[in-house]
Symmetry: C2
Subunit: 261 residues, 2 copies
Amino acid sequence: MSPMSSPLPYGETLDAFHRGAFRLVQPSLKGHRSGIDAMILASAVPADFKGKIADLGAGAGAAGLAVASRCTETHVTLIERSPEMLLYAEKSCTLPENAHMQGRLSCLQADVTMAGPARHEAGLADNHFDYVIMNPPFNQHNDRATPDDLKAQAHVMHEGMFESWIRTASGILRPRGHIAIIARPANISEILTCMERRFGSIAIVPIHARPEEAAIRIVITGIKGSRAPVFLAPALILHKSSGHEFTPRAESLINGCDSLL
Amino acid sequence: MSPMSSPLPYGETLDAFHRGAFRLVQPSLKGHRSGIDAMILASAVPADFKGKIADLGAGAGAAGLAVASRCTETHVTLIERSPEMLLYAEKSCTLPENAHMQGRLSCLQADVTMAGPARHEAGLADNHFDYVIMNPPFNQHNDRATPDDLKAQAHVMHEGMFESWIRTASGILRPRGHIAIIARPANISEILTCMERRFGSIAIVPIHARPEEAAIRIVITGIKGSRAPVFLAPALILHKSSGHEFTPRAESLINGCDSLL
């Protein structure tokens, strides 16, 4: 990735991803700053995928922009509850450096936990999208390590969060539409329980920082309405046993040169 | 493993495991024949583990005998519903070749799906064991590929099977006792759901035949009453991308020279 951060006025940075293929405006000191997780999540979408993609809880839009940049026959909608974070996403969408994706990006301010008519009124129609990606908040509610409010909103998950996010994903996806989630291994059981009533052909990809350590993340994908069983794909290893460089496979995925599955 | 099979009269074989460290009497033509799965399951128990171990649904006793042979401070009870399969287990327990484990092995005929007073009457007391291992049947009930009855009993799983087996495991384990299960990845969600109310510190170990293929098995371990989160351990890879030899790690585990976790 090597995001080349340029400090901008008003506490923003302009970060390059995919070896400079696109840029992202992010808050420099507060809020959630995107990186590896967003790039790995984006790599779950095949490069030749065609269709409408929703990035649920998009934050500043890193994962959604990475999909739009790499998958050139997609239209990506960045959906985010926080107006402040969405403002960063909107700035990124209009950057001259991202001109190759303009016309294939939209921003929508909406709370992804909504259901029924409220969700429809917010602009999220049923059976509309072909692929949903999500990187939900992952800290426990009682894990109060984040002092600023913007960051707290991005990082803190609430009881029933996976149920409401996955319910929305299933609602806005067309039948046989795809989902990809990046999360912590501790949430695997809750996520599978929420998915199994709605999705099949579920693939779990463990992500390990180092080959001999427990996984730090999982990517879970699925197909709406499929009845095919769960499978456990080969793991992605980010680094070798020692050293800071990425493995060739991780380097390739993070830089938008390959697909996770 | 290289089980050196000697054909015996009456349709039995005498198979060597752990490079000849112990032998197993098995039906030669019918019933479930044990191998790699049982050896991998047995490797989940640390070599220096001390205490009482139950092998639930032990069949001819391969996994339980492998634990008793490698973990020399354990007493292993082989628990099996089928009197015919248990007869093979009893023969193995009294073989001169297994003399080093005699006095540390018991056989018990009992249906592990029983609960409450029926389970107690069958000889399975609550809070008794320190470690439970299980290799439950893994074929779907509607997958009728097995013509003989003895084999069918060992291979066919029923609705709610994991719930009843894991309920029994939890019941007969002491608080903070350990469990290890080998199963198919397709059952990961059901197993986690059954375990999470009773066990914590749950570790999932994916088992892949080859590095680039989906996992063929999972080993799931846990500690009764723990509240620690699920973790996803590094995978065990049985073979390299090509060739039939085991990887050094698989060879070591299957032959009783190392522990899975």
